[in-house]
Each structure stands twice: as C-alpha cells, then as structure tokens.
Symmetry: C2
Subunit: 229 residues, 2 copies
DNA sequence: ATTTGAGATTGATGCAGCGCAAAGAAGATC
DNA sequence: GATCTTCTTTGCGCTGCATCAATCTCAAAT
C-alpha cells in the first residue's frame, strides 16, 4: 500500500479539526489511486467496498434508468469525499463514478468507516456538512426543474459549473474539464439538441465561447440574468 | 419546560444506540409542542433557532421561488428528525415546515446541537443515515423529473406517499393526511390541472378513489406498472 | 340553513422543447 | 495522412403539457 503524504490531505474540509498525528493515523489506512480519463471509479449497484476523497481531477456521478437513460447527479470537485454509501447505510453504490479527466483519488476500505468514525467523531460531523450541502444542491435542482424552463436551467447549471470548477482564461472563465452538450442535457433534464441550440444562441450573442467539449463563459452577469428569467 | 416522557422517543432511529439514561439526558433539553393543522413550524429564511423531531402528525416542507411558486420538498413522517439546518452548517432554515395535520413535535435549541453531538457522537451517525436517505430520495426525484413524463411521476409520487404515510382502509390504502391536487402538482413539477386530469382518469379506471384532499389507492400494482411507463 | 371560499373538474388553445434525420467538424487511431 | 469515431449543429414536424378560463362541488364558517 502506497504511503500517502499528509500534505496532500491537510486542509481538506473532511479533516478539519484533526491534529497532524490523527490525520496521519487516518491516512495510514488509505492508498492513492490514479484513474485515467474516462475510467470508472465505481459502478452503480456494485458492492460499496471503499470510500474516496478526490485529490486531483474531476469525477462525474451518474445514475442510469431501467430504460438506459443517463442522468448526471453531480460533479465531484477536488477535496471532496465521495462514494460514502457505507456512511449512509447503503450496501451498494447508488450511482456510477467516472473520471472525466485524469484524476487521483484516496481510497479507504468501507469496512473501516465505523471504526474510524468512532475514533474520530469529527469525521461524521464533517461528512454531515458535505451531505447537507449536497442535499441543498439537489433540492435546488428539483425546484429549478419544477419551475424554470430549459434556458434558465442550462444557465443555472453552467453558472454552477464555473463556480465549482471554473478556470480563469483571457476571455473569461472556462469549465476546466471536458464536458459535452450531452452531459449538460443530462444535468438539466433536457436533450442534447435543446442544449446545442441554446448554447449556439448564447455564442452568437457573445455570452460564451463554445467548442468541442469546451465552454468558456465570457459574460457571467448576463448569464445570471438569463438564469433568473 | 414540559418534561418529555422517554417512552415517546425510545425506538426512534435518531436515538438508536443510546441507553435509557442517555436518552433521558437528551430529552431533558427538549420540550413538546403541539401544532394545529396548517400552522407553520418554521419559515424558510428564518434563523435556525431549533431542531425538531416529529412525534405525531405530518409536516410538509416547501420552498418558494423568487416569483412565488411553491415546491413541496418532502413530507416528514412521525419519528423523523427535521429542521437540522444547524447540523449541516446553515444559519437559516432552507425551507418552510407546515403541519398538514394536528401534530406534535419535540423541539431542541439549535445551539445545543454541537455539544450534544460531542457528548453522543452516535447522533451524528444516525443523522447521517437520515440525511443519506433524503439525498437518495431527492436524486430519485431528479432522475424521475428528467426522464419520466407527468403520469409516471404522479404515479411514483402517489406510491411513495402511501408507502411513507399509508393507512389501510376497506377499499385499499389511503394517504393518511389531507393532500390536495395542488400539493401533488408541487411534488411532481406539473400543474394542478394536469394532476386533476390524471387522477380523474385513474378514478374512472378504478385504480383510485378520489375526494376533497383525499386519495385512496385501490390497485397499487396497476399504479406501479403505470409508474414504470 | 345559508353563505362563502377553497378545492376540483373540464374544455380550448398555444408553444416549448422533444424526436427524428442528416450532415458537418474536430479529435483519435493507425 | 487517411480513416474512423465521437461530438455538434441545424431543420422540421409533432405532441405533451402549460396556460387561460369557466364552472362545479363540497366543507367549514356564521
């Protein structure tokens, strides 16, 4: 098992309130794993054998319906814990996690979670915060899908993407991992075609720059006003 | 402050793993409050001064958009913890909670949550489970709203309602609190009109019995097959 | 018993966005 | 550099559901 350096993990929200020694104790049980772009970290329905922290890269969580349609549940940003099925009492992963970029994750055996939490209860409270903000996000999405129409939903989704994973470039802010129109459709409950039309429109109006699996937002404020209808 | 009898709270998932003495210690800080039908327990955006456990009745959580549209986030069943803003790091309630029936809730000051969790870490892990299943529900809803059409979504919502709050009657299973077509519309992201048409159709086919703020499901299996498309 | 207001039904109309189709553009592979 | 694959664009017809509007019904209030 590869030893994991403390400096990689110090400062992550999950480990807030732990001393360096305690952190070392926790990291001793982990190992770092590299995932190539487009490789699957874990599959929906598989036994939840591990839980994870994303150190570098980006991971997409998706659910698939019985008739094969995919829905993007969320994107995991560096520093986040994910795959916590065990912590919430699920024996299996509820979604599929795919690296959308070359990524590095810390991996712990799920079986040690109860022991770890008993020893360091702050892990539970920190995870509670993470889960809480995910729940907020999910509810926000439900509200948006209930009340807004496609263009506003796509605008909101794009704004969220650049907030969580935006990289400054000369012309604006770019989503810093490869993302297709299909992905955005699966995030917003529309179709590839509708998203393509909407983004083309925005590009003509100079709000964004498009490209193959690339989006640069030039005018976040104008996008914001579109998002609000 | 009214003393709360241990027998009311023993056996609730939130308190799993606590001894009777520990439970008493926690209940000492709580008081029971009655809420009349249609009264508000807490309001979206208000300072999160308390957290709650529902002992009896039913509570609806809703969010309101800037333009005044309501969305039903979920219904709280007896035994559940709710209003846990503080535990997930929010200074304000993210939704409005309304008693849809005469209800009894236990109330704790939110300020004691950190101290309580420090003393009884199992509270955090139990809350983690609750939050996890809520997150699952919310994701399920996102998936349904992305991929299913109105009739399936209403069928799913109704099945969930009778599962979580169903009462056996001679002709089938009844949702055991008052629920309007408007409420169901707000749960499923459709309109009152669409829900009314759908339920009328089902009633003609003998799947359900309707009534003013009343729904009895006669044929859950047929509803299930509708839900699956 | 009457009133009143909230909830429910039902019809008519319009349109946002989906399904389908076909072609073009940009990387990936060899 | 040629081929292949994946992603994207764009046009068109169609339909599910929202929107608007009118009416009906029942339960609680007085």
């Amino acid at each position: 098992m590869a030893a994991v350096d403390r400096s990689l993990a110090a400062g992550l929200p999950l480990f807030a309130g732990l001393s360096p020694t305690e952190l070392d104790d926790i990291l001793r049980e982990a190992h770092a794993v590299h995932h190539a772009k487009n490789s699957v970290v874990f599959e929906e329905g598989a036994e939840a054998e591990s839980f994870f922290v994303l150190l570098h890269g980006h991971v997409r969580a998706t659910k698939t319906t019985s008739d094969g349609q995919q829905v993007v549940v969320r994107y995991v940003a560096p520093g986040e814990i994910f795959g916590v099925a065990m912590a919430i009492g699920l024996p299996r992963y509820p979604a599929t996690a795919t690296a959308v970029d070359d990524s590095v994750v810390l991996v712990w055996p799920a079986s040690i979670w109860p022991r770890l939490v008993e020893k360091y209860p702050v892990l539970a409270t920190n995870t509670l915060q993470t889960l809480g903000s995910r729940l907020q996000d999910s509810h926000t999405r439900v509200v948006e899908m209930s009340t807004e129409q496609a263009e506003s939903r796509v605008a909101h989704a794009l704004l969220r993407l650049i907030r969580q994973a935006g990289r400054k470039v000369e012309s604006g802010v770019e989503v810093d991992f490869p993302i297709s129109r299909q992905d955005i459709a699966e995030m917003t409950g529309t179709t590839l075609h509708t998203v393509s039309r909407i983004l083309s429109g925005w590009e003509q109006r100079g709000l964004i720059d498009g490209g193959r699996q690339r989006i640069v937002v030039r005018e976040p404020e104008k996008l914001q006003s579109l998002a609000e209808g």
